[in-house]
């Protein structure tokens, strides 16, 4: 069932009237609106149990937005950047905060926005939406009535067709199938499109650094965050661990790592893990055993099953069930991984490398994929640079004045 969440003065899509003219980038009204939403969320206890929503609220605080403003101004120093007009965002149904980041970055550069949200029940999205609407419906944001539309609907192509015909830029967050399907629905010849398909992410650990680590607890906390949030199912979640170094050090590191991770997991509760996910994992690992004869290691905690692969080549092709299934591979040098890297590979969450080492490594190997390399613990942090695009710039037109 289609539902128009905003603006609150229309009941069907024929009445939808969205302004195409843009605001000045980082207009004070836009910044104030985002800051008000942030305050509204941070004072509400309902959000306390959702760390992703709190992270979003911190991202929206005025102090942080001003940093983003400086960043944008620096980027646009010599160029003239204006918003595209109307941006249509199609959000995935299960990463709750993406639509807000996508919308607010577009809002900040001056665009009007149309947001599609899945009609599937989602408690987190509902409380988030309520909080945003409370602010949006304030009198001082009356101007936004014609600059934002939020529509909840399922896979109804007719609605997507209509909204696509209105926009100057379409943003598709979703799986490969969704991206492919929506791409078949036309946009205006002058419109652009930004897509975020399925991606595969992994971790790289320099064994010699790991074995000499002094603060293991922090390390596991970071690894836990990157691997187990969203049940390991986000595009940036760690699904594979690449060990780099001498064989004997790797072997020692591996034992230490998985056993200690198991101990770390035992200390936490995992109320959100479901029996079906564990079952999917058992089926997936047994299937891999049948097709590839891959060794499987189990640990004391049920959320660690490690499948040893002998090549990185296929890791992104297997069905990944989440629930703590890890592929593992060892290489003697970082450069060995690049020949397997494809466009599908997104984030490397690394441990043990300096920024310069990584830059040089990328420079000399020029891989076909990899969108970002971050320290372990930051894989799921949102950044305005995503899948190789700077969203601020992607939502803008550049006017060339000679």
């Amino acid at each position: 069932m289609m539902k128009i969440v905003a603006p609150n003065n229309i009941t069907n899509l024929d009445q939808l009237d969205i302004e195409q003219n843009v605001y000045e980038p980082f207009a004070s009204l836009s910044i104030e609106f985002i800051d008000d939403v942030s305050k509204n969320i941070l004072k509400d206890n309902a959000f306390k149990e959702f760390p992703e929503l709190l992270a979003l609220a911190f991202w929206m605080r005025k102090a942080h937005i001003m940093k983003l403003k400086n960043y944008f101004l620096e980027k646009s120093q010599d160029e003239f950047l204006l918003g595209k007009g109307i941006v249509f965002h199609l959000a995935p149904s299960n990463v709750d905060t993406i639509f807000v980041y996508s919308w607010f970055i577009s809002l900040l550069v001056g665009n009007s926005n149309i947001i599609r949200i899945s009609d599937k029940e989602n408690h987190q999205i509902d409380i988030l939406l309520n909080s945003i609407l409370m602010v949006l419906n304030l009198k001082k944001y009356k101007k936004f009535q014609k600059r934002v539309a939020i529509i909840k609907y399922g896979h109804e192509d007719k609605i997507t067709e209509l909204l696509s015909s209105l926009c100057d830029c379409r943003v598709i967050w979703g799986g490969d199938t969704t991206v492919q399907h929506i791409r078949s629905i036309p946009i205006k010849p002058t419109s652009t499109e930004l897509i975020f398909p399925d991606k595969f992410s992994f971790s790289i650990i320099k064994a010699s650094e790991f074995i000499g680590l002094s603060n293991f607890d922090k390390f596991y906390e970071n690894f836990y965050k990157d691997a187990y949030s969203f049940n390991q199912m986000a595009c940036s979640s760690i699904k594979l661990v690449v060990w780099v170094g001498e064989e004997n050090i790797i072997d020692k590191s591996k034992i230490l790592f998985w056993n200690n991770l198991s101990i770390y997991l035992n200390k936490r509760t995992h109320e959100d893990i479901q029996g079906a996910e564990i079952m999917n994992k058992l089926v997936a690992e047994a299937s891999l055993a049948i097709t590839n004869n891959t060794p499987i290691k189990k640990y004391k905690n049920p959320l660690i099953n490690v499948v040893e692969l002998d090549s990185l080549k296929f890791a992104d092709e297997f069905y990944h069930p989440g629930a703590g299934l890890f592929y593992e591979i060892k290489v003697s040098d970082l450069s060995e991984i690049y020949k397997f890297i494809t466009r599908k590979h997104q984030t490397i969450a690394q441990f043990g490398y300096s920024k310069d080492e990584l830059k040089n490594s990328i420079k000399s190997n020029m891989p076909n994929g990899i969108d970002r390399i971050v320290p372990i613990g930051q894989a799921l942090d949102f950044s305005n640079i995503w899948d190789g695009n700077d969203l601020f710039l992607s939502f803008c037109r550049q006017i060339d004045i000679q």
């Binding site: 995935p92 149904s93 299960n94 055993a289």
Partner: protein, 363 residues
Amino acid sequence: MKIEDYLNISPYSLSKRDKRKFLISELNKLTQIHYEGSTEYKSILDSYNKNFFNYDNYESFYPMPVRLFKEFDIKTCKSEEVLKVLTSSGTTSQKVSKIFLDKETSGLQTNALVKIMQTYLGKERLPMLIIDSKSIFKDRKQFSARGAGILGLSNFGRDHTYVLDEHMNLDEGLIKDFLNKHGNKKFLIFGFTFMVREYLYQEAINKKLKIDLSNGILIHSGGWKKLVEKAVTNEVFRSDLNEIFSLRSIHDFYGMVEQVGSIFVECEYSFLHAPIFSDILARDPITHKVLKFGQKGLLQVLSILPRSYPGHSLLSEDIGTIYGEDDCKCGRAGKYFKVHGRLPKSEVRGCSDTHASEVVTNK
């Protein structure tokens, strides 16, 4: 003891110790046979790099996820020995399980089923009312679970009377004729739980039919999912049938196409019972640790019948509670339990909104 001799023991007569001793030795033998005969099974056991042989307890046998039979063709016997292939009744988009039976396994299954059912029905074949349609047997080569269930039970009946047409409409005339002929003596009724409720009970209510099934013994199966959605519990199901048809002898059974024969039949006290050919464990759905009696968990079914495919120790996707062993009020030995339903499907999480929660593997 040989399995043929074992089959002649009354199916609910062995106490825990004797039963376990024989089952464990058979399960160890079967693990060896399947390890040697099935490359898929061998690959899995090898991957875990564990010694899978000569266990002295049920817990240690590899609980093979039953869904693997949907993903792969897994068999231990040679292709030319395959007598028939059973398939589960999947809905349109679902994959179906394929179970390969050779003569030996098929024979053992039939024998075990006979021994179990005879304790409820007696040795004589009974006139049989089938709450289903004959049209289910269109394709003789591939047996669906529904068809296989009917055929399996048909061996216990005579004058088989199918009372539904292909559109699931009840033919009252056929029932009346059947009851005129056989209604005064013991007779057998078989149907799938949902169909008995919807196409017999509901029809009778809607059309205000007077049907006397007081001499009938109803054997039914198929799960409660659809009925629980309509708030029809086993208790409601039983008491409604009792009230409308005076039907008192009602036995649900729990079984799966992956382990035909060694089924678990419901006793007079509404507990399902493990016969001497099979046993059952409940595991924690997350840790898979074996649970104590009374705790609700994922059911693992063990059976000594599967020889042509590695189905002797299976992890089902059903949730149930085992209440005890050898001390049910009905007097039958063995574990007794209830099945509460399926393991709830997982919600899709992550970036993509298109992944199905069903496993897709690369082949």
